[in-house]
Subunit: 413 residues, 2 copies
């Protein structure tokens, strides 16, 4: 498309695109937006390497692309403007999460990356919010890297889960890259590699001291709990990873308490999701921490959002043309937009509209003329913002309206 | 765990781990194994950078790790042996896809990466096989990068989908990195960016010539088809992306045929999966190519496999100890294994067993002493092997048995 725009002489036109989610999945009441920081890094660092251009040149699709186009790509930089909602913002279907205004080619090229990085992290953060709600105040740790969609996804899932309120991740790369707190426990192979459970437990204590979490179900959970109690301190907790977590957690709690280890925590894992966690919490299972893997790191019940990136305005020769597609069931609304948030509802309007009384603008400038002016890297600050957003707006059925100006523009296109 | 093994003096023990899938998801009859090439690259290049070691050293979990352990990590290389089934092999639940024998720490460290890279690509290749079966010989192109779980997953999904039999991907990075054929069509923004559909279509022909695929549903599919027919050649095909694909494809076919464009193809997209494709094929929709995005690149109905990596043997002081966990519902079988494939069934046995008459060994050595001895990079060769595997073994209900030796070993542990 970029080569075609170049050949069609569309290099001086300025396009505005917006990124939004068409519909929420059946089991989601809201989105927790995430991934903006990666989007900003991508846009401000975007360029084409010589070997990339050489590969593209060799594709049959580009046989007719003129050499001036390759010179253009070699010097390509993103010079546009981006507005976006801060990471951690609670948003709803149809609301733009990001708008991008740039020369047409610069605006087109980032489409796939922006959708993949913001779409994916928003999928995970939104799933994490559901799981955290089910956990009702108990800690949740993201444990899913091994089931994530390749290593990068595992790392970004650890970040997104933390931003939405998890206490940390088992993914050390996410810890290193994003300063997410890392947690972990030994695996069954640890226990199996020692002659017996007692030795495995003692050796873990040697390394981890008061951070020790003993995995007690390798042979028999109840016996494992007795063994962990017999080994005594230092011990932060024990982990259950199989069987009837409700019954076993009660029995293990009793064994620990009878040994005077009332402060020792119980962590549970084993293909947990918001449904199983809610049931355990409701039944009063004495579980202090949930480690959630597959269901969280893949958003198993809804692994993708209907996120799209659509052209809404095109400026050429001093004139603005509004764009909207009319495809059946997939109609889009024209015009560069803003979301006005009131206490009780959101109004999607035009960027040019005055701020209505009692509302705030959710989309804020983050890149101006290709330069990042905001890129929040303090993940604890984002997490606190997300916590407040979820508390205030993370409820089903929030009303999202169109402003009168936007409705009028849509009706005329 | 590695630091703990080091502190426990377990540096001269040799471990054998195996990677397998516990259960097939409800909608999968078999797996198409994929991801080995990335696993080999990872293992043969694995090392710890200074900044990585510095990060780990700073974690509270490692307060008690001795400085000799950090020296060990700084010089860490993978020196072990790996056997695996070739990429494209059709496999079933409970069968080892890969076995790894190495000093215990070297065998433990790759667990997460191996599961994430082999697990994910196997998820996608197995989903692709289902979609291709539904397409019943019609071409399928992988179109899902924008909904994939971050960019790396999009790229690897393009690779895995091709290996399982798709004709290509829209992901240019997968094309460049893995030589997967790349396909693409213009987006609605292309059409919207021009004054009218006719100009948009003509400009695409200017660039793509006989490779042109016109997206005809931006305003009205039937009008779009008439417009594409009026523009004439060069034209490879048209794409439908909304509405009733059965009815529209018939109407569009009629319009093209009446214009004498019987060779012009019809491509369909729009949240397709194996169910919608099977219905279209069964009803005789004149669709030549399916572009499949979200459902393929995320394996939407089953986005993860129960892939695990388990310790099965430990050699220390000249003695071999067999390992198996007994956790409820998650029991594992001890011993380094081999899969013997007969025409009518698979037998999971021990690596030490003689090859039974009429069987072949599925696990083959790929890394010896830390050096890759096999790393098939010719993706067309892998695709052809996968095609044959799916034709021969890609059916439900294949019998997987345990050999007498393995059963006896399991009974005694």
């Amino acid at each position: 498309m970029s080569a075609g725009y170049w050949m069609a002489g569309k290099t001086s036109e300025t396009a505005t695109f917006e990124l939004f989610v068409r519909r929420l999945p059946p089991n989601r009441d809201f989105l927790v937006v995430c991934g903006l920081s990666q989007a900003i890094e991508y846009l401000t660092g975007l360029k084409f390497l010589d070997r990339e251009i050489a590969y593209l040149k060799g594709l049959p699709q580009f046989e007719k692309a003129p050499s001036a186009f390759w010179d253009y790509l070699a010097g390509f930089r993103f010079t546009g403007d981006v507005s976006a909602v801060p990471e951690g913002t609670v948003m709803f279907a149809g609301e733009p999460l990001l708008t991008l205004r740039a020369p047409l080619i610069e605006a087109q090229i980032p489409e796939t990356y922006l959708l993949a990085t913001i779409g994916f992290q928003t999928v995970i953060a939104s799933k994490a919010a559901r799981i955290l709600k089910a956990a009702a105040g108990r800690d949740v740790v993201e444990f899913g890297c091994r089931r994530a969609h390749a290593p990068e996804a595992g790392c970004l899932a650890g970040r997104a889960a933390f931003l939405a309120g998890c206490v940390g991740t088992s993914n050390v790369a996410a810890g290193m890259q994003f300063a997410v707190p890392v947690f972990g426990t030994a695996a069954h192979s640890w226990v199996l590699s020692f002659e017996n459970e007692a030795e495995a437990f003692r050796r873990l204590q040697d390394l981890l001291g008061e951070r020790t979490v003993q995995l007690i179900d390798t042979y028999d959970t109840v016996e494992g709990a007795r063994q962990a109690a017999a080994m005594g301190q230092p011990l932060w907790g024990v982990r259950l990873d199989s069987g009837d977590l409700l019954g076993l957690s009660r029995e293990v709690r009793r064994i620990l308490d009878e040994a005077g280890m009332t402060a020792v925590k119980i962590m549970a894992t084993n293909d947990l999701d918001e449904t199983t966690i809610a049931a355990l919490v409701e039944q009063g299972a004495p579980i202090d921490v949930f480690g959630v893997g597959t269901s969280l790191a893949t958003s198993f019940d809804a692994p993708a959002l209907s996120a799209v990136y659509k052209l809404v305005e095109l400026e050429a020769g001093g004139q603005t043309r509004y764009a909207s597609k009319h495809s059946e069931g997939k109609r889009t609304l024209p015009g560069a937009k803003q979301v006005f948030r009131f206490a009780d509802r959101d109004v999607v309007g035009l960027q040019t509209e005055a701020l209505p009384a009692g509302a705030e603008r959710l989309l804020k400038q983050v890149i101006v003329g290709g330069e990042a002016i905001v890129d929040e890297k303090n993940i604890r600050r984002i997490q606190e913002y997300a916590r407040q957003q979820i508390a205030d707006y993370g409820k089903p059925g929030r009303q999202v309206e169109l402003s009168a100006s936007l409705s009028a523009l849509a009706a005329s296109h």
